[in-house]
């Protein structure tokens, strides 16, 4: 299963990269989202995979039933997901405003600030 998820992760990164290189701010954001999915899945996968068992302790016990899934990557990804959401919300709004103000969705039209 690791192999499969590794490939899915790679595909997410590849697709994210590809989308970011298109000439559209919209696709750029899609690419960013894919990239962040890729990162999340990567952490999840390299943290080790355990089928089915949540790291939740059953009532009346002190440790979860073995084998439990590693809770650390889960906590990290959870943080990353929420941060990713915040970033995405801002980025979307920014691009939206940029489109309204600059009248273009083409990142190639954004050269003014560099020259």
């Amino acid at each position: 299963m690791l192999t499969l998820l590794a490939i899915v992760t790679g595909c997410l990164y590849a697709a994210g990269t590809y989308m970011m290189l298109r000439r559209s701010l919209f696709k750029l954001i899609l690419g960013l989202v894919l990239l962040s999915h890729g990162a999340n899945l990567l952490i999840f996968t390299v943290g080790g995979l355990t089928r089915g068992h949540a790291p939740v302790i059953d009532a009346g016990e002190d440790v979860p039933t073995s084998p439990w899934a590693d809770p650390v990557p889960q906590a990290l990804i959870l943080t990353a997901i929420v941060i990713g959401f915040a970033v995405l919300a801002f980025t979307l709004t920014l691009f939206h405003r940029a489109y309204q103000t600059l009248g273009s969705d083409d990142p190639d039209d954004l050269k003014l600030s560099d020259q």
């Binding site: 970011m20 990162a39 952490i43 990353a80 801002f90 980025t91 920014l94 990142p107 600030s113």
Partner: protein
């Protein structure tokens, strides 16, 4: 061990953020809170520095969970220095903002954002946990995104898009690298990572992960060829925002590079640090050439940031390559000294550029002028940081450059030294370009300021010049007191290179 002084630099800005948000519509309150908070932050950072200076590295285990299990906050001398610098830059920028930021921005969270930025920066300096570092980076980045875009003017939006996109790429790489490190070692504590990576049976992979960190932090630090976001954006937001960015943000990247490549990734120095050295040279050169090509006050300064990042990483690269511990310490101390110098000088130059822009009504150097005659104090206050940046003795920049070049020569990296010297000359060139255009040259007829002179009240002017003057004074002071400052840098470098002290302080008896 439980040191309140260690957490104050986090609590103070966080509290100001929360209070400012609570008083969302009460701007006078936000201004007051921001000012008090900035003063308190500086005070706390000085206390922290004093403490670390006297008792050595201090550590607090957040939540009382013993390292490596909880999140460790740790201040060694390097961190403490950085926090003090953040405090200084923060206070100066807040004071400057009081007289220069428009009502609209103030009404939409300018002050809490500045404080959030400081929070992120301080957090990044103080954390001893790699994922927590990611979180503070995000705090810092998010605040910088918003500060950059706040106001939504055309160039701002254009610059923001590039800034945001490239920094998000950096974050994605950072996050992935953290995940891989966790997979490799099962830990997130940086000291623990240092131990475990040393024992790793997969050194190739460790180095490759190190490369991911190099790229992620290299983007934040604006190292060649990852710096594009910086010149695209830094000149677009209001002056104090640029100043804060210019002073602090890239330096957090440099800080992280230094931390990671002195503490964690030290297994394959011959490879990694040679790479860092090569990138340093290229960074210096491309940055300064970029500056030469610019015709706008803040754009020139922006490219110079890049160029000077090259100097900062140069010391790191040298420190990893030389045999002698003494020389390595010296080189790294050069980097640290350079950072100290740079943060103060660069922040100040951006503040000066803002005042110049306000007085001339334009940002292009061609359409500025006459400030030498009309604003002699400002002219002097420009000259101090500008000459310091160019490495003119006896200002801070001279000693910064001297130490690095000396280290480079001792390490026999002649090509790099030649580059550094050449870049120094070009820095002088572009500083004098600004001086000549904005200050010496008479105000051109077509400049808007010659038609309707700016109406800066003298009170406003005093508030604007106060931080500039303070920082110029600091630049001079660092020059004259280079010995104590440099010896602190030496001690910090020593601590960085002798990892055991840090590791022992963090891990306690658990090790």
């Amino acid at each position: 061990m439980n040191d309140v002084v260690l957490v104050l630099p986090l609590l103070i800005p966080l509290l100001t953020v929360a209070l400012s948000l609570l008083a969302w519509r009460w701007i006078a309150f936000q201004r007051a809170v921001a000012l008090i908070g900035a003063i308190a932050l500086l005070g706390a950072s000085v206390l922290l520095f004093q403490r670390v200076y006297s008792v050595g590295t201090i550590v607090t285990q957040a939540g009382a969970w013993q390292a490596p299990y909880g999140i460790t906050l740790v201040a060694d001398l390097f961190s403490a220095i950085m926090v003090v610098l953040a405090g200084i830059a923060g206070l100066m920028v807040v004071v400057f903002s009081l007289a220069s930021v428009d009502k609209g921005r103030e009404a939409f969270g300018y002050y809490p954002l500045v404080n959030a930025l400081l929070l992120g920066v301080c957090g990044a300096f103080l954390t001893g946990d790699i994922f927590n570092l990611y979180v503070w980076f995000e705090v810092m980045l998010m605040s910088s995104f918003v500060l950059l875009a706040l106001g939504g003017e055309r160039p701002q939006l254009q610059g923001s898009i590039k800034y945001v996109t490239l920094n998000l790429v950096s974050s994605a790489i950072f996050l992935a690298a953290v995940g891989i490190l966790y997979g490799l070692t099962g830990t997130l504590n940086m000291a623990d990572l240092a131990i475990r990576l040393g024992e790793s049976d997969r050194p190739v992979l460790v180095t490759a992960v190190g490369m991911l960190f190099l790229v992620a932090f290299g983007i934040k630090a604006a190292v060649f060829p990852l710096f594009f976001w910086l010149p695209a954006s830094y000149h677009t937001p209001p002056g104090p925002v640029s100043a804060l960015f210019a002073g602090l943000l890239t330096k957090v990247g440099v800080y992280a590079l230094i931390r990671m490549f002195t503490l964690v990734f030290v297994q394959d120095n011959a490879y990694t640090h040679t790479l860092i050295l090569a990138l340093s040279g290229l960074t210096m050169l491309t940055g300064v050439l970029g500056a030469v090509a610019q015709q706008e006050f803040r754009r020139v300064l922006s490219f110079h940031i890049i160029s000077q990042i090259g100097y900062m990483t140069m010391g790191l690269g040298l420190a990893g390559l030389v045999e002698s511990t003494e020389l390595a310490t010296f080189a790294l101390a050069g980097s640290i000294f350079y950072i100290i110098h740079h943060i103060i000088v660069k922040t100040n130059l951006f503040l000066v550029s803002t005042v110049a822009g306000k007085l001339c009504g334009m940002v292009e150097l061609k359409r500025q002028g006459g400030l030498y005659l009309s604003q002699p104090l400002l002219a002097f206050l420009f000259l101090v940081p500008a000459m310091s940046l160019a490495g003119m003795p006896p200002l801070s920049g001279f000693f910064a450059k001297l130490s690095l070049i000396k280290a480079g020569l001792l390490a026999e990296q002649y090509l790099l030294v030649a580059t550094a010297l050449f870049v120094g000359l070009l820095t002088l060139f572009s500083m004098t370009k600004i001086w000549s255009e904005a200050f010496w040259k008479p105000l051109p007829e077509e400049s808007p300021a010659s038609r309707n002179p700016p109406n800066l009240s003298s009170k406003q002017m005093r508030i604007l010049l106060f931080p500039i003057g303070m920082m110029a004074l600091l630049t001079i002071t660092i020059g004259f007191c280079a010995e104590p400052v440099f010896s602190v840098a030496m001690r910090a470098a020593e601590e960085l290179l002798q990892r055991d002290g840090y590791i022992r302080a963090v891990m306690g008896e658990a090790q």
